[in-house]
Amino acid sequence: MAKTTPVLAPVLGALLLSACASRNLVVVLPEPNGHVGAVVVHAGESQTILNKGYAAATPSARSANPLPAGAYGDTKVKQVFGETLAAMPEPPVSQDLFFETDSLDLTPQSTTALQAFLDKLKTRKAVEIVITGHTDTMGKDDYNDALSLQRAESIKSTLLPVLLKYGVSADAVTAEGRGKRDLLVATPDDTPEPRNRRVEITVR
């Protein structure tokens, strides 16, 4: 851009063109936990992969146009996207709850954890609650899917009166079952593991 011809009109033209082209912009943000995923930009006949914090591209109809590293930092991102990022909803938070053996009673630790978790509801708006059941690796997928959902539904009925007191509306509470897909403790198949038999409560 800086190395265009010294003749005034073409320089102005190039500046104008580049100003227009750079209206289209993609910037990957670094996440607080240090994790950065990736966004693949497909444009025209080309593509570019943005997989570092603040990696950016200015795609046009012709090409994906990755920018050199450092082109978009925190300050520039806030200039362009400040109002947008300020509107971002709070990230969902989750709490695992464990039960006494063969029971739907929470362990004492989980009772305390649930109370602390419910207190977070006071500072959030338009709360949705998701109750997700998990099993250990004993048994088949179908069985565990049904069992985890059943457990989630049962906890939902137990918690509903409490949640209503916190101002959550009944239709904002849903139950889901993940079976053995999301193990807290990795185990081989057919392994009894009490820490995997749990219910996760998420506020969104």
Binding site: R23, L29, L85, M88, K125, R181
Partner: protein, 162 residues
């Protein structure tokens, strides 16, 4: 770093128009196809409206968003939305976002999520759909298609190009 070229842009557009065509051929109103609640409005400033099948409603915190909704912000306005797979989005001023496709299986986390940013600014933090299947979320702009492999990112689309 992968370098496989995926023909997403072409397939995506074609599939979308077939889907629309299908709706009209079947004689079903679009609203009946789209009455599935997929997310909820969590933050709002200024003036934000939502258009579904030609009908406009004001956006409000706690209100639902549905598949095929188009969310529109005025100047000095913004909106934040959470979706059923825990993905998060925010739209800045003078923006227009259509929620083209949302499928999510709460047990397997399989699904697909396509949106189009027609103009303005958008921030996205991807959720469980992308965690389960990288690039199952796609963001179209007038010039590009973004395949999301799990991250937080921001997009600006120049509405004058299309």
């Amino acid at each position: 770093m992968q370098t496989t070229v995926s023909p997403i842009a072409y397939h995506g557009r074609r599939r979308n128009s077939f889907w629309l065509l299908g709706c009209f051929i079947a004689g079903l109103p679009l609203s009946a196809m789209a009455d599935e609640r997929i997310g909820q409005i969590k933050t709002e400033t200024g003036t934000v409206t939502i258009v579904q099948a030609g009908k406009t409603r004001p956006a409000q915190v706690g209100g639902p968003v549905f598949k095929s909704d188009t969310v529109i912000t005025a100047g000095h306005s913004s909106v934040g939305i959470t979706f059923a797979d825990n993905s998060l989005m925010a739209l800045g001023p003078f923006s227009r976002l259509s929620l083209d496709q949302f499928r999510f299986n709460t047990t397997t986390h399989d699904g697909a999520f396509d949106v189009s940013l027609k103009k303005g600014t958008l921030a996205i933090k991807s959720g469980q759909i992308v965690k389960q299947t990288p690039e199952a979320m796609r963001v179209r702009t007038p010039v590009a298609v973004l395949g999301v492999r799990g991250t937080e990112f921001v997009v600006r689309a120049d509405g004058t190009e299309s």
